[in-house]
């Protein structure tokens, strides 16, 4: 087994059965990050000492035939807004670099550690998670492993690119308006944004408190489920299936809808074709409308700007020059916005939630494009989507925003095409029904229509390097 090419559960299985040691796996991934990351700029810290210590503990547990967690020895990395003991929690900013190191891990990092996973580093992101492109002026842009001239999406761009580039089989991110779902699509990996409130956000630097959610990335639906369940561990209230179902339930009982209207108007032909391809594979033909989805996106935009502007008000007053130039203007505009905009947006949120609940009386799951189009060039100031001129940093997530606005659980399922940039489809379920998202994602993956892999460019370079050696 080449651990760099293996999925997370295969790595855990190999370590559990003593075919490879956790230390060998950790060293392989750490070496690979050193060799590869200069091309993609995913990592802002590599936690080598910690990774090797955690791996050593796993190897000792294996040798002692002690109980092992479901992710034993699996390397992973986290968006740098998660607290990691001993590291300053950058949240993509220069300002936070001056903070003292975190005294303990974020709650979900503690849970992954209990599950046996090995932390190998912290990952680049848009400053304060406020952007959809991970073009970070302080730490450089993250580059898409499928084409390094293109964005990885954001704000969890480092996380998605690290998984797509084979530098980690699992990564954690956060999703406020689409910051897991969008980069997952643009980098061609699976990504989950659970129901708002499902996962513990303790130790996770906020963007907009009424929207923020912890999420994760993987290259298989099963790995994603295992990571998600590890993050839930200890939560007595979760209502989900076991991580590795012995028999994957089919989807015959699910009524599947295809989102139309707004989601058609703001997506390019290939993004809609991806949804159509998945719908065909699932036998879905019914189209459903989320009424006023465009207005929901507008309301989410207002709420995010106001909450984020307020959160950073103190530093905006005293050191505005230290903020990301690409998002400072939006934070300032949010900070000075009239209160009635915010209150009305939150009231509209209640109305919209009720409307979509009615849609979910007619279907169990909804498919929608995760992005208006494929990844844009790094530095692009404007994109045209079906006649609309849009700013990528603010608008690439326009199809994910209405969904997180009302806290729905969603998995982005990747859609890969030979010679083309990846796309993704949102699989959206009613609140607390992540299990439905996983059933549909697994079905799509097993049917062969959806898949993820390490980007071809990375694989090709590895083959050349091996041939040369």
């Amino acid at each position: 087994m080449n651990p760099l090419r293996a999925d997370a559960l295969t790595i855990a299985d190999a370590i559990r059965n003593k075919r490879v040691s956790a230390t060998e796996v950790a060293r392989t991934f750490l070496d690979n990050v050193r060799a590869q990351d200069s091309k993609f700029n995913c990592f802002t810290a590599v936690t080598e000492e910690r990774a090797l210590a955690e791996a050593k503990a796993i190897d000792a547990a294996v040798a002692a035939n002690a109980a092992l967690g479901p992710l034993c020895g699996v390397p992973y990395a986290v968006k740098n807004l998660f607290d990691v003991e001993g590291l300053s929690t950058l949240a993509g900013s220069r300002i936070n670099a001056g903070l003292p190191p975190a005294e303990q891990d974020a709650a979900v990092v503690q849970r992954l550690r209990r599950a046996g996973a090995i932390l190998i580093g912290a990952l680049n992101m848009d400053e304060y998670a406020y952007g959809f492109t991970t073009e970070n002026t302080h730490y450089g842009p993250v580059r898409n492993p499928y084409d390094t001239s293109k964005i990885a999406g954001g704000s969890s761009g480092g996380s998605a690119a690290a998984v797509a580039g084979g530098m980690a089989p699992l990564a954690l991110g956060s999703d406020t308006n689409g910051s897991v779902r969008l980069p997952a699509a643009l980098c061609g990996v699976f990504g989950i944004k659970p129901t708002f409130g499902r996962l513990d956000r303790s130790g996770c630097f906020p963007l907009a408190a009424s929207l923020d959610t912890v999420g994760a990335f993987a290259r298989t639906a099963e790995d994603l489920a295992a990571c998600y369940h590890a993050m839930l561990d200890g939560d007595p209230d979760h209502r989900t299936e076991p991580a590795r179902s012995p028999v994957v339930r089919n989807i015959d009982d699910l009524r599947i809808g295809i989102a139309d209207d707004y989601f058609d108007r703001y997506s390019e032909d290939d993004a809609r074709a991806a949804v159509a391809e998945f719908a065909r594979a699932l036998g879905a033909t019914r189209r459903v409308t989320m009424p006023e989805a465009e207005r929901a996106r507008a309301a989410a935009y207002v709420i995010t700007a106001v909450e984020a502007g307020n959160l950073h008000l103190s530093n905006l007053r005293t050191r505005p020059q230290d903020f990301e130039p690409l998002s400072k203007d939006r934070l300032l505009a949010g900070a000075i916005s009239p209160a009635s905009w915010y209150v009305q947006a939150q009231r509209f949120r209640q109305w919209f939630r009720g409307q979509v609940a009615q849609v979910f009386e007619t279907v169990d799951v909804i498919l929608a494009p995760a992005s208006p189009r494929t990844a844009t060039p790094i530095g692009a100031k404007s994109i045209n989507v079906r006649g609309h001129d849009l700013v990528p940093r603010a608008y690439m997530g326009m199809l994910t925003q209405p969904i997180s606005f009302i806290g729905l659980p969603t998995i982005t399922v990747p859609f890969l095409r030979e010679g083309e940039m990846p796309l993704g489809v949102q699989v959206i379920a009613p609140p607390w029904r992540e299990d439905i998202c996983f059933r549909v994602a697994r079905t799509l993956e097993q049917s062969g229509v959806a898949r993820s892999r390490i980007a071809a460019s990375v694989m090709a370079e590895t083959k050349v390097a091996r041939a040369a050696s």
Partner: protein, 59 residues
């Protein structure tokens, strides 16, 4: 309605103790214009008085 947002920024920022440099005002005005457009969409929607604000505070 088109407002001269660059002129509005200072009176809106001053009560918050925010000093927005003159050279930053065009970008902030552009960001505020996008917010005005989004807020227009929200404010113009005929919500019933019975709709309460979304609750996010859990006591």
């Amino acid at each position: 309605m088109r407002l001269n947002l660059e002129e509005m920024i200072e009176p809106m920022a001053e009560p918050l103790g925010l000093a927005i440099p003159t050279d930053a005002r065009p970008a902030v005005a552009a960001a505020l214009q996008r917010l005005v457009e989004a807020a227009d969409a929200v404010m113009s929607f005929p919500l019933s008085d019975n709709i309460e604000i979304a609750q996010v505070f859990v006591p």
